[in-house]
Amino acid sequence: MKNITYVKESNRKTLKEYGRGIIGGLLFSLPLVYTSEVWWTGFITAPKYLLCCVFVTYLLLMGYNRYAGMKEGSSFAEICWDSVEEIGLAFVVSFLFLLLISRIEFGMSLEEIAGKVIVESMIVAIGISVGTAQLGGNGDDGDKNEQNLPANRQDGDDVGKKDNPFIKRIILAICGSVLVASAVAPTEEILIIAVSCSALHLLLMLVISLLITGITLYYSDFKKSSGSRPEIMVMLLELMVDYIIALVVGYALLRFFGRVQDYGFTIVVAQMVVLGIAGTIGASAGRLLIGR
């Protein structure tokens, strides 16, 4: 009898976790779900890029689950398990949501339906992962963390291992940058701004991006940011790392959404700088918000 109650309780907690994940997924991906350029990307993009998108998303999910996921001290197999669950859930959520807003219909070709759902579900998956880990009540999370740790690992094993802070920072910065920058990357407005901006504008954007990161990390007592300020050289190094991450993520997103291939070098760089503002906010503030 006690066992049945435990099983029911365990299932109920998992369903609550999924509920949180779905809310998180929608919260972070709604701008993309309502963006026509994203639907189009689904059927324009070559299958090899879609495959890359699935692969990269899976790696990001593993990275996020490893360093900020809900279950502290999870083993590699558990991280893989959770990431598979999140991708599956994201695919179902994206499919149903696109069906709800009539962006997919059963009369459409399989290529079109699959393309649209794949593109949308990848960002939903990261949102689900973040939502599951970050949107829970404290009491519930605490229970879960304790409950899910196998007895032998509570005494040591993975839990005892110290995370490499630099790798953790990089992974979370990439996740944060992807979450924030992907909301604007597919829109034509990035290209319009990039084309119309002078070199001075772009330089100002670059400075502002670094300034925002600096204020977020060292001068605003932003959520989970360290109170103490490091040396100036360390600060500059950290700012540069976040900015480079934002640029690289920006380039990858622009390439995926077809905003690089047919444009000259100057326009591509200008687009990266324009998108870099969103990317750095994601890599700094976003990282702190989604991190553990």
């Binding site: 299958p47 991708i87 599956g88 077809g258």
Partner: protein
């Protein structure tokens, strides 16, 4: 890799199985598409049928892309011929027609219907995205 240490509940097992199924299906589908794809450009096939249910003189135009790439900014010009003379012109503009997909459009002519009328496609233009 100590998988056996943690026990998963039924909901987790079901969603993992579903997730794995989705992931395998997705990857297989994309790999299949990559292997199958022969870079055939967009090929647009048109069918023009008179709409019998409306009082106007209109036609249903169905455009199907049987190629292997999406067609973008499609523009189709149609002419209504009566007694061998083009008496009216109409244009259809479509944003996208994805691979193996079709779009349906309507064209309404102002002329009265005559025996022996024909609708001819004058030009089809599109760009490759």
């Amino acid at each position: 890799m100590d998988t056996g240490k943690k026990s998963y509940n039924v909901v987790e097992k079901i969603s993992f199985a579903l997730g794995l199924l989705v992931l395998v299906a997705l990857v297989s589908f994309l790999v299949y598409q990559m292997v199958q794809k022969q870079n055939v450009p967009p090929i647009l096939e048109l069918s023009i049928v008179e709409e019998p249910l409306t009082p106007d003189y209109d036609f249903i135009i169905e455009v199907k892309n049987v190629g292997e790439e999406t067609a973008e900014s499609i523009s189709i010009v149609l002419n209504l011929y009566q007694e061998g003379i083009a008496v009216e012109e109409g244009m259809i503009r479509l944003q996208y027609i994805p691979i193996k997909s079709k779009k349906t459009a309507w064209i309404v002519f102002g002329q009265k219907e005559k025996l022996g009328d024909s609708v001819i496609v004058s030009s089809i233009t599109f760009v490759k995205p």
